[in-house]
């Protein structure tokens, strides 16, 4: 059968007309794209509860008449902004939680200032997180707190939970959280101790510049940015596609610098010595062994995560001390797991059904 036989000849004029219309729309919308700003992100009403240096603690205003007893503290990854979890109405994880009756707080980060280059892992784990937990307890009037950590926010939550194993963390939810850093193959190679002089880098730049962090993420999929721009041009006539592209592109490029000393510890203790996986991690001289964590835990991992491959995240459930533990693998990548259409359909309802009964 020839190729021409598969063509519906009658549809050709229709297709040509449609393509011409799209070409015109592309030109018009292309100009609009350049001239306009993207959608407003992170607009769920909230109050700033506490600000200290690079740390911001938000409280989102409840929208239900009745809320669960246990408040939630979300610990964001230190490389990225928290608005990925609060994109726009209908695509906001925060909005979803509020509507389902949770009391939500978020520990979000701003760029550390040059003088904050000396912030260490212990500042994050032994000071910032406990400080926020205390504020959440005071504001909510509850002792128990559910902690949700995204990506490296999950690592910080694990370190916090293992050091403060006696409470007040009541439940722990981790999204795509690495534990076995050997399995982050490309990051391992970028930070190969034979060639990567982390001391020299930190001593010369202070804080790790965001461009360096962004390019290390982009190097994991070097063709994807160009391909996504081609796809944007093809779909620029489609307002929904453009809106979604702008939201995710803005977030992905809005990378934060990392405090120098903190990065030094991540490189040496986690990337080089894999101390968390080996059970020998300590923070500020205090042992941080995840087998000490016994609270209920849900770990959500993505099937196609190129930043935290499944093999790096898998040992979390094996190694944690909890008996009430569950791993859920969902379709999608590192970001689409928590935000976007897939998350709305898959992760969020799963999380709600798991957490609801543990929040009373």
């Amino acid at each position: 059968m020839s190729a021409a036989a598969g063509l519906d000849l009658a549809s050709i004029p229709e297709r040509i007309q449609s393509e011409v219309q799209r070409a015109i729309q592309r030109s018009i919308k292309g100009v609009e794209y350049i001239a306009s700003s993207g959608p407003s992100l992170g607009s769920t009403p909230k109050d700033i509860l506490h600000v200290r240096g690079t740390m911001n603690l938000y409280h989102y205003r409840p929208v239900s008449d009745e809320i669960y007893r246990v408040p939630i503290l979300i610990v964001m990854a230190t490389t990225n902004r928290g608005y990925i979890l609060d994109l726009v109405p209908g695509q906001s994880f925060i909005e979803f939680l509020l509507k389902r009756g949770y009391d939500v707080y978020m520990l979000d980060w701003t760029a550390p200032r040059p003088e904050e280059k000396s912030l260490r892992m212990e500042d994050y784990v032994l000071d910032f997180i406990p400080d926020c937990v205390r504020h959440v307890q005071r504001d909510s009037g509850e002792t128990d707190v559910t902690v949700i950590g995204y990506c490296f926010g999950g690592v910080l939550s694990l370190l916090y939970g293992s050091i403060f194993a006696g409470g007040p963390m009541k439940n722990l939810i981790c999204f795509t959280t690495p534990v076995d850093f050997r399995e982050m193959k490309l990051f391992q190679n970028f930070s190969d101790r034979r060639y990567f002089d982390v001391d020299r880098l930190i001593d010369s730049v202070g804080n790790v510049p965001p461009e360096m962090i962004l390019s290390s993420f982009e190097m994991l999929r070097p063709a994807s940015r160009a391909a996504s721009q081609v796809a944007l041009w093809e779909n620029i006539w489609n307002d929904e596609y453009v809106k979604s592209y702008r939201m995710f592109d803005r977030w992905a490029t809005d990378t934060l610098p990392l405090a120098g000393e903190y990065f030094r510890t991540i490189t040496k203790d986690l990337m080089w010595d894999n101390k968390l996986y080996n059970g020998v991690m300590s923070v500020g001289g205090r042992p941080a062994d995840i087998s000490k964590i016994t609270v209920p835990i849900l770990h959500a991992v993505a099937e196609h995560d190129h930043i935290v491959p499944y093999d790096a995240a898998k040992p979390l459930i094996e190694k944690i001390g909890s008996t009430d533990k569950e791993e859920v693998m969902l379709k999608g990548g590192h970001v689409s797991l928590v935000a976007g259409a897939n998350a709305v359909k898959r992760l969020w309802p799963k999380l709600d059904s798991w957490l609801g009964e543990r929040s009373i």
Binding site: R15, I48, H50, R52, N189, D192, Y195, L201, A227, S359
Partner: protein, 128 residues
């Protein structure tokens, strides 16, 4: 409906998708080699050193031209950030004070927080 295999637009999109996957896979394989790590880190190290030296040179040049240097601008931005932070603290305090002042002594605040009595819906039940 036109056959997808003969649709030029679909073929083009498919081709782009395949090229992206192929290039990413090839690049990942290449970047997994120690040689790439060595080169990337050498270039990165040189660039960080050069950046530092250039920064120091520019600093001296701008002082000579009686212009604010980057460090001074950063310091100013820090002070602004600090002022913003303090304003936020004041705002939070005012919010708290207002919240308390509208409440009768020892009584519940004017805009009470919702009660923490919610329970999960029964299995198969509908969410409010």
């Amino acid at each position: 409906m036109a056959d997808k295999s003969n649709d030029p637009a679909a073929m083009w999109q498919n081709m782009i998708g395949e090229m992206e996957k192929g290039f990413n896979a090839f690049a990942n394989q290449a970047m997994a080699s120690p040689e790439v790590s060595k080169v990337v880190n050498q270039v990165g190290g040189i660039s960080a050193g050069a950046q530092k030296q250039l920064g120091e040179f520019m600093e001296k040049y701008l002082v000579g031209m009686n212009l604010p240097s980057r460090a001074q601008m950063v310091a100013m931005a820090e002070r602004l950030q600090s002022i913003e932070g303090q304003l936020n603290e004041i705002k939070a305090l005012l919010h708290q004070v207002h919240h308390n002042s509208t409440a009768p002594d020892g009584g519940p605040p004017a805009a009470p927080k919702p009660p923490r009595t919610r329970r999960p819906p029964p299995a198969g039940g509908e969410q409010k």
